[in-house]
C-alpha cells in the first residue's frame, strides 16, 4: 500500500523555487528518509505535507486522498502528525498535558461540556489520561508526567514532541531532525525509538542530517538538492550514487 504520493510538486516563495517538480512515493509501514544539504527544501516539503504551506503546483496524496486545499488540522485528521525541527513544545503546560493535547482527535467533548464537567467528560478525561500515559511510557518518559515542560532538558523535549505526536495514534509520522543536538548515546536511543514506532505500524518520514542514523534505520532514502530530486533508493544505493557524493562533498572531490 502506498502511504504518500507526491507528483510534480512545486513550491516557490516570491519566485525562488524551494521545491521543483518533485515526484516520489512512500510505501506504508516503512522508515523513509529525506536527506540533502541545508536549504535543499526538506522542511519545506514537510510543511507542504502537513498543510502549513500550500503547494504552488503538483499534487500530494496521503492514503489516496488528495490533500490540496485542506487545512493543517484536516490533514492531521487523516492520521498525519509531525515533530518540528525547532521545537514546538507547549511550554505553558506540563509534560502530561502536552501529550494529552496529542489525544485531541481521539476525544470529543466540547467547551460547554468541559466547563460544566459533565459525567461524560470525566470518563473521557480518564481515557485521555490513560492514552497519554501510554504514549509517555512508550517513550520512557512516564516518570516525568507531572513536570512542567519548560523544566525539561533539550533531549527530553525532543522525546516529548514524539510522545505528543504518538498520542494521536498517527498512521504517518513526520519527524524533522529528531537527532539534531543529541549526543551519540541519545542518537542511538532515538534510532531505536524510531524503529519501535515503525514496528507499531506507523509509517515514518524522516528528515535528518545524521547519516549514521539515516543509513542505519531507513528502508528508503530520497536525496534533495536545491529543491530537486537528486537520487532515490535503498540506503546502499544512495550512498554509492556519484551525484549524491558530489552534492555532499563538492564536485571536485
Amino acid at each position: 500500500m502506498v502511504c504518500v504520493e507526491v507528483e510534480h510538486l512545486d513550491k516557490s516563495f516570491g519566485g525562488v523555487a524551494a521545491i521543483s517538480d518533485l515526484t516520489f512515493k512512500v510505501q506504508e509501514g516503512i522508515i523513509f528518509s529525506v536527506i540533502g544539504p541545508n536549504g535543499a527544501g526538506k522542511t519545506t516539503l514537510f510543511n507542504l505535507l502537513t498543510g502549513l504551506y500550500r503547494p504552488s503546483g503538483g499534487a500530494i496524496r496521503i492514503k489516496g486522498k488528495d490533500i490540496r486545499g485542506l487545512k493543517p488540522h484536516e490533514i492531521a485528521s487523516l492520521g498525519v502528525t509531525r515533530t518540528f525541527q525547532n521545537l514546538q513544545v507547549f511550554m505553558n503546560m506540563t509534560v502530561l498535558e502536552n501529550v494529552m493535547v496529542g489525544c485531541h482527535m481521539r476525544s470529543r467533548s466540547g467547551l460547554i461540556a468541559g466547563a460544566l464537567r459533565l459525567p461524560s467528560v470525566l470518563r473521557e478525561e480518564r481515557r485521555v489520561r490513560e492514552m497519554a500515559m501510554e504514549a509517555l511510557e512508550f517513550c520512557d518518559m512516564a516518570d516525568l508526567a507531572g513536570r512542567d515542560a519548560d523544566s525539561l532538558a533539550y533531549g527530553l523535549l525532543k522525546k516529548l514532541e514524539i510522545a505528543r505526536a504518538l498520542a494521536a495514534a498517527p498512521g504517518l509520522l513526520l519527524m524533522d531532525e529528531p537527532a539534531a543536538g543529541l549526543n551519540d548515546t541519545e542518537t542511538l536511543m532515538m534510532g531505536r525509538l524510531i524503529e519501535r514506532i515503525c514496528k507499531r505500524g506507523t509509517t515514518v518520514l524522516l528528515v535528518e542530517h545524521n547519516m549514521g542514523l539515516v543509513m542505519g534505520i531507513s528502508h528508503g532514502v530520497l536525496v534533495l538538492n536545491y529543491g530537486r530530486l537528486l537520487a532515490q533508493g535503498s540506503p546502499e544505493e544512495v550512498q554509492r550514487n556519484p551525484e549524491v557524493i558530489a552534492a555532499y562533498l563538492g564536485d571536485e572531490g
Partner: protein, 317 residues
C-alpha cells in the same frame, strides 16, 4: 484536591457576610468585586488561556446590561427571560464577530477589539430612543429569585457571590478540559496545535463566545443590581481596567484574574484617604507591581510559596 483552592475561596466568601453583615466593604464593595471577578475571569479565558487580547470586553458587559434594561423597562419582559435573551443575542453576535476578528493577531487584534468597544459605546450614547443616550436608563425592575425579591445589599451579595463562584468553577473546569488544553496549545504554538488536529479558528471562536456570554450575564445582573445603566460604566477605560486585572493577577491563572479583580476593586476604596493623590498612588502601585512581579501578583507569589515549601520539605527529608 483539584478544586482545593476553590473550596477555600468559597468558604471565605461565605463566611464574610456572616461575620460582617453590616460592613460597607462586604455588602457594597463586595458586590462590585464579585461583578469584576466574573468579568476578569471571563476575559482571562480568552486572554490568559487562549492568548487572544481583547480591549473591548466592557462592550459585552454593556450589551448584556442594556439588553436587560431595554427588554424589562420598554417591553415589560420578566428579568430572567430578558437576561436569557440578552445572553443569546450576545452569543450570536460574538459568534459572528469572532471569525473575522480572531484572524487577527497581537497588536492588530488589540486595535480591532478596541475599535469594537468604542463603536458599541458610541451606540449606547447615540441611540437615545432605545438606550436613553448619555443619561442612561433608570427604573430597571427588581430581580427576584424563587419568589424572593433581591432588594437589599446583603441579598445582592449572596446572588453575586454565587454567580462569581459559579464562573470561577466554570473557568477552572475549562482549564482542565479538552478544549481548554487546545486553547493553551494555541497559546503555546499555533502551528503545533494545528498539526495535532486542533481547528484553531474554531476553538478560539468558541472561547470568544463563552467569554462574551459570561460578560453579558454579568451585565444583566449589574443592571438589576444598580437599577440604572449609563454608557459611562461600559467605556473603553473599563475595558482597559479589566485587562489590567487579568495581567496584574497573572495571565493564564483563574485565581490570578480573581485576585487581580479583587485588588483593583479594593485599592481605590482604600486610597480614598489620600484624597487628591489617590490616582497618583494607584498608578504608582500598579507600576511597581508590574516591575517587581512581572508574572503577576498571584502567580509570582504562589510560585515563591511553592518553592519555599518544596525546599523546606527536602531539607527535612
Amino acid at each position: 484536591m483539584r478544586l482545593a483552592g476553590f473550596y477555600l475561596f468559597a468558604l471565605f466568601t461565605g463566611i464574610l457576610p456572616v461575620l460582617f453583615p453590616d460592613s460597607y466593604y462586604v455588602t457594597v464593595v463586595g458586590v462590585t468585586i464579585c461583578t469584576n471577578v466574573i468579568l476578569a475571569v471571563s476575559l482571562n479565558l480568552l486572554m490568559g488561556y487562549a492568548g487572544q487580547i481583547s480591549l473591548g470586553h466592557a462592550a459585552f458587559f454593556g450589551l448584556g446590561a442594556y439588553a436587560s434594561a431595554i427588554l424589562t423597562t420598554r417591553y415589560g419582559l420578566d428579568p430572567w427571560v430578558a437576561m436569557f435573551i440578552g445572553a443569546v443575542l450576545v452569543g450570536i453576535f460574538s459568534l459572528v464577530l469572532s471569525r473575522p476578528i480572531l484572524r487577527l493577531k497581537g497588536h492588530y487584534l488589540a486595535m480591532a477589539t478596541l475599535g469594537f468597544g468604542i463603536i458599541i459605546h458610541i451606540f449606547f450614547v447615540q441611540m437615545d430612543n432605545l438606550t436613553g443616550g448619555p443619561d442612561g436608563m433608570s427604573g430597571i425592575p427588581v430581580l427576584s429569585l424563587f419568589g424572593i425579591p433581591i432588594d437589599s445589599d446583603l441579598k445582592w451579595y449572596v446572588v453575586m457571590a454565587s454567580a462569581m463562584l459559579f464562573s470561577i468553577w466554570l473557568s477552572l473546569n475549562v482549564a482542565d478540559s479538552r478544549e481548554g488544553r487546545a486553547l493553551a496549545a494555541v497559546h503555546g504554538s499555533e502551528a503545533a496545535a494545528q498539526t495535532m488536529g486542533i481547528d484553531t479558528a474554531r476553538v478560539k471562536s468558541h472561547v470568544f463566545v463563552l467569554s462574551a456570554v459570561m460578560a453579558a450575564i454579568a451585565g444583566s445582573l449589574f443592571a438589576h443590581q444598580q437599577s440604572f445603566v449609563s454608557p459611562e460604566s461600559f467605556s473603553f477605560f473599563f475595558s482597559i481596567e479589566l485587562v489590567t486585572m487579568v495581567v496584574l493577577g497573572g495571565l493564564a491563572s483563574t485565581f490570578g484574574a480573581v485576585f487581580g479583580a479583587i485588588i483593583l476593586s479594593i485599592l481605590p476604596e482604600i486610597l480614598l484617604v489620600f484624597e487628591d493623590f489617590e490616582v497618583v498612588i494607584y498608578g504608582a502601585i500598579l507600576m511597581a507591581m508590574m516591575i517587581f512581579l512581572p508574572q503577576g501578583l498571584f502567580v509570582t507569589l504562589s510560585r515563591r510559596l511553592h518553592c519555599m515549601f518544596a525546599s523546606r520539605f527536602q531539607r527535612t527529608k
